[in-house]
Amino acid sequence: MDLGELLGTLAVGLAAGVTSGLLGVGGGILFVPGLVFFLGLAQLHAEATSLVAIVPVALVGAWRQKSYGNVRLRDGVVIGVLSPLGVLAGAALANAVPERALQIAFAAVQLYFAYRLARRALREPSVQPP
């Protein structure tokens, strides 16, 4: 890994965290391409590795949101606890499909996120009221 790759990685990580804290969108959608482009990971490995970063970021985010009174903990925990079947199915599928198919699918997800964000941007006032 050279300096450029390291700096790129740190920058993407920072950006992912800031947008996560600011917009409530997860970091994964930025972590994955960051890991692919700057650290040379294959799509599947980038996705898997992204999840490692997502856990502490979500934890810190959830903690702060809880202090603002925005977390209904019981529902959140229930959803988490009920997710294993879905997680297994998703992971199994990711491991079964060709790399190219996963890349294209992920790119489609990014476009969908972009669409949702654009709609949201057009709806919102310029600065959030306190």
């Binding site: 990685t9 994964g28 391409p33 490995h45 490692v52 856990v55 997680v87």
Partner: protein, 118 residues
């Protein structure tokens, strides 16, 4: 099973699948459904979603780890600056135009998608 539990299960399963398949948290599934099906207000949905994502992400990370897909060092490398970013981002919420950030982020995602595929 109560209808509430059925719906929570549906959300959990789809979000989990999204997470396992794409390496994201699953929030895009959880947030709109909490609003639509449970009448959550947007900030509550986002906050609650994050709590769920901690668990979902953990399960998904472990599952992929068992498949041998995880590079722990690189995960830490990209995760540490992100932690700093989250703290900064939540603090900036009142001062920055989230509208502008959303717009920039959207453009970034389109560019990234193009780079990935082309």
């Amino acid at each position: 099973m109560s209808s509430r539990l059925v719906r929570l299960t549906a959300i959990a399963t789809v979000a989990g699948a999204f997470s396992g398949l794409f390496g994201v948290g699953g929030g895009t599934v959880i947030v709109p459904l909490l609003i639509l099906w449970f009448g959550y207000e947007e900030h509550e949905a986002t906050g609650t979603s994050l709590a769920a994502i901690v668990l979902i992400g953990l399960l998904a990370a472990v599952t992929h780890g068992l498949y041998g897909n995880v590079d722990l060092l690189k995960g830490v490398l990209i995760g540490v600056p992100a932690l700093g970013g989250v703290v900064a981002g939540t603090a900036l919420q009142q001062r920055i135009s989230t509208r502008a950030v959303s717009g920039i982020f959207a453009v970034l995602l389109v560019v990234s998608a193009a780079l990935l595929v082309l």
